[in-house]
Structures are given as structure tokens and as C-alpha cells.
């Protein structure tokens, strides 16, 4: 991995309610790449993302130790509210805010974080984010509509736009296409590729080996809270060294 790491995790240990969930995790995510985190259910993928943006703090009874550097800063030593402003997150289930319009769903993060200083700048960011999420053409005439008028796949792209409006350098996605149809999945993937073109670093949890191969530059394989294998997609997908990875790629776990 030659590029400067956007995320660098050293000796990360996470315990929830006394139970070890992540065990001595070490990994690097190179800047400007798409990195897939794969692994069977319960291996700690979501937990790993939530450590990076400190959503883990919302759970009671967690112990986190180690170093999680994002663009050089150890987020574990920062104010969690400041950490979250610098990265976007998309969740497994589409979850646009039900009480806000399509426009407000996108603008809200930019407003909260003072990314936009005027209404015009805000409009511009909303437009940009929706274009980047490949949703602009579908919603530009109904920005005041509530999000439930959109299909599930459109809602998920709205959530991507919401995250993008923070103008983050790092984007975290937790199985973003697990609950949407193939057409929307392709749009989402196109969108992620074009964001990578612009230099954004993307960390994506995925259950689907095919998606990881299509989309990512690097793959990190998690099993039972530990990293069992990491490397460029070509190497991992074609020549996995670890038995767990092989079984995962064959769809056995």
C-alpha cells in the first residue's frame, strides 16, 4: 500500500459489555481509494465503522483502546462531535429523516456544521450532493416532497447525498446496497466510483464478494473481531491466502 493512509488503525481493541468484539485490529486505508471490509455476520464490521466516526460512544458499557488515526489525527482522543463532522456515513437501511423534505435532508448536515454560509451556498451544496448521488434528475422538481415518496433505492441515494453535503474527505458505508434492487445498486456503485475520482476515501462494508471485486481497490477481511487478511483486491480475490477468506468468497460463511 503505497499511498498515504487516510485511516490507520493500530492495536484497536473494543469490548462491549465485557465481551471482546474487535481484537487487536491493525489496518490501513490508503487515501483516495475504495476499501471494502468483508466478513461474516457478527465479525465486527459495523462496530469497526462506528469506532471510526465515534458512533460507538452512543452505546453503554464500551471500552475502546488503541489508535485510530484519520488523516493523521487520533479520533479516539478528539471530541466525538468534531470527529463526526469530518466524515459521512451511510447505513444499512435507508434512513432519511422522515420529518424533513428531500431538500432539508441533504442540507441539514451542511447547516449544522456551517459548511454553507448563505442560502445560495446551501442550494449549491444540495445540488452538488444530489448530483454526486445520481439523484438530482429524479428529485430536482420535488425537493419539497417528504422522503417516503421515494423508492427504497432512491432513499438510500438520498442518504448518500445527506452524507456528502458534509463535504467529507472520508465516507463510511455500512452495506449500503444490502436492501436495494440491482438498478439502484449500480447507480450507487457508479456514484462511489465518481467520488473516488474526486479523491474521496471510501470505506465500505459489504457482504457481497462480487461487489467488493467490482468496486474496491483494497479488501480487508474480518473474522471474529480480527483482521485475517488485507491487501489489493486482485490479490485477495484471486489468490486468498487465508482459509476464512476462501470460504467467504465461495459463499460458505
Amino acid at each position: 500500500m503505497q499511498a498515504r493512509p487516510a485511516v490507520e488503525i493500530v492495536n484497536l481493541n473494543v469490548k462491549i459489555g465485557g465481551k471482546s468484539i474487535l481484537k487487536n485490529v491493525n489496518l490501513k486505508v490508503p487515501e483516495g481509494t475504495i476499501t471494502s471490509i468483508m466478513g461474516p455476520s457478527g465479525s465486527g464490521k459495523t462496530t469497526l465503522l462506528r469506532v471510526i466516526n465515534r458512533l460507538i460512544d452512543l452505546i453503554d458499557d464500551v471500552e475502546v483502546s488503541g489508535v485510530v488515526r484519520v488523516f493523521g489525527n487520533n479520533v479516539l482522543e478528539m471530541d466525538p462531535y468534531d470527529v463526526r463532522k469530518t466524515m459521512g456515513m451511510v447505513f444499512q437501511m435507508p434512513n432519511p429523516f422522515p420529518h424533513l423534505s428531500i431538500y432539508d435532508n441533504v442540507s441539514i448536515g451542511a447547516k449544522v456544521n456551517g459548511v454553507a454560509r448563505s442560502k445560495r451556498e446551501l442550494d449549491e451544496i444540495v445540488r452538488w450532493a444530489l448530483i454526486k448521488a445520481m439523484l438530482w434528475d429524479e428529485v430536482k422538481d420535488r425537493l419539497k416532497d417528504p422522503p417516503w415518496r421515494l423508492s427504497g433505492g432512491q432513499q438510500q441515494r438520498l442518504c448518500l447525498a445527506r452524507a456528502l453535503a458534509l463535504k467529507p474527505r472520508l465516507l463510511l458505508l455500512d452495506e449500503p446496497t444490502a436492501n436495494i434492487d440491482p438498478v439502484n445498486t449500480i447507480k450507487m456503485e457508479d456514484s462511489l466510483r465518481s467520488l473516488r475520482e474526486e479523491g474521496m476515501t471510501i470505506v465500505m462494508v459489504t457482504h457481497m464478494p462480487h461487489q467488493a471485486v467490482r468496486l474496491s481497490d483494497y479488501i480487508i477481511m474480518l473474522y471474529d473481531g480480527s483482521v485475517v487478511e488485507e491487501g489489493p483486491t486482485g490479490e485477495i480475490a484471486i489468490n486468498p491466502r487465508h482459509e476464512v477468506t476462501r470460504r467467504f468468497l465461495r459463499g460458505e460463511i
Partner: protein, 279 residues
Amino acid sequence: MDTRRLKDKIFTITVIALSIVAIAPVFHIIIYVSYRGLPVIVESGLEFFTSIPNAVTDPKPGGIAQAIIGTLYLTATASIIAVPIATLAAVFSSEFPRSRLTHVVRAASRSLLEVATIIVGMLVFALLVLPTGRFTAVAGSVALAIVMIPYVYTYVELAMLSVPRTYVDAAYSLGMSRALVIYHKLRIMRRGVVRGLMIGVTKAMGETAPLLFTAFGARNVLFGGPLEPIDALPLMIFQFIQTGYDNWIKLAWGGAFILLISYLTLFIVTRVLVKEVKY
């Protein structure tokens, strides 16, 4: 007709019949109160809303303005006291469900719900009426506020706890402060929150017992101020209906009709104005 469809039909008919039995009393009340109350208002005309009760010997019953003003005043002031306290407590409990304070508040609220409201009246009597030596509107407001608090608290807390976790995660993931997240949770659950407020307000509007030894009732002036006794619709109804004087019994029915209309309007207006958030 095969037996399955027959069973289906019997089931449907049973459900409809039972529903009718269940809501029949409500309609009975609405119809009966209108039947007794509406003619009184027609007989008194505008005076019903603008003047105090006439003497029992008067040919016309007069009005219940003092009771309407009293109920408006008591409900408004009780809400001003109760709603902020109850909402803050509810937000605290839902944000810190494991806190010691939350356990205490919940237990207190639950016991307040169990306690007969006349006990609340006696408590306020001991605290505010005995020491000052007078029945006051303030004592009435405080008694009604105490009655309201556990209702508003329970409903608002329930609403806050039912916000789907995923919206809370999304809000925090955008860097929102805790206060801002709470604000958005309240907005997502606006229907439940408003329902809680409404139940509190209707409780306060309809209670008689807590007012007996606090607000006491005053029927010779329209409004005497916060430090004087004050009338209220349920208090007036309760006392007038058992007097045996024709005029006052009429006013009691007229007042009951006004109370009923206020309930219905409140519920319909909030239902229309505060739409459920769909997701």
C-alpha cells in the same frame, strides 16, 4: 357458502357489533349532554357566555362566563407549569434510561397516576391554602399542574423512546449536538408528543376533585385575579347539578355541553394540524 367464509362473516359481524357496544356510551353521552345542554344555551343566548349566573329566582338562568374564564385560566397556567417540567423530565428519562434519577422520576410519576386526584387537592390545600388562609387560583393551577405532569411525562417519554434508533444514529453521524438530536426526535414523534400534551390538557380541563379545596369556586365575579378563589366548569357543574334549583341545574348542563365541545374541538383541531410523520 362454505364454512370458512361463514366463519369469516360471523367473525366480522361480531367485531363490528362489539365495536358498536364499546363506543355506544360515548355517543350516548354526546347526544344526552347536547339534548340537555344545547337548549339552555339557546335560552340564555349570548348572555350565557358573558355573564355570571343569575339568582335562582330569576326567570332566566344567566351565564357561566366566570367558569369558562376560570377553566381557561386554570388550564393555561397549569400547562405553563406542567408542560416544561414534564417534557424536560421525559427527555431526561429517555436520554438517560439507566440513571438513578430516571428510576426515581418514573416511580414518582407512576404513583402520581395511581393517586386519586382528590389527594392532590388535599396536598396543595395543606401546602398553599392552609398557610395563607385563603383559597386561590394559584393553588388551583398548582393542583391541576400536579395532575397533568405524570400524563404528559408518560406520553412524551414513550414518544421519545419510540424514535427508531437508526434516525438517532444518522443524526449523530452528521455531527449534531445532543440538544439538536433531541429537537429532531421530538419533531419526528410530534404526534405522540402532542397527544401527551392534549391528554394532560384535557385532564386539567375536566378535573373537579383537585379544585374543591384549592380554587374553591367563585361565582359572583368574572375573574378575581390569581390570589382570589376562581371558578371552573367541572367545579360549577358538580356543585350546581346537586342544588335542586332549576336555573342552576340548567347552567350545569349548559356548562357540560361547553366542556364536551371543547374536548371535541381540541382533539379534532390537533388531529388536523399535527400530522403523523410517515416513514
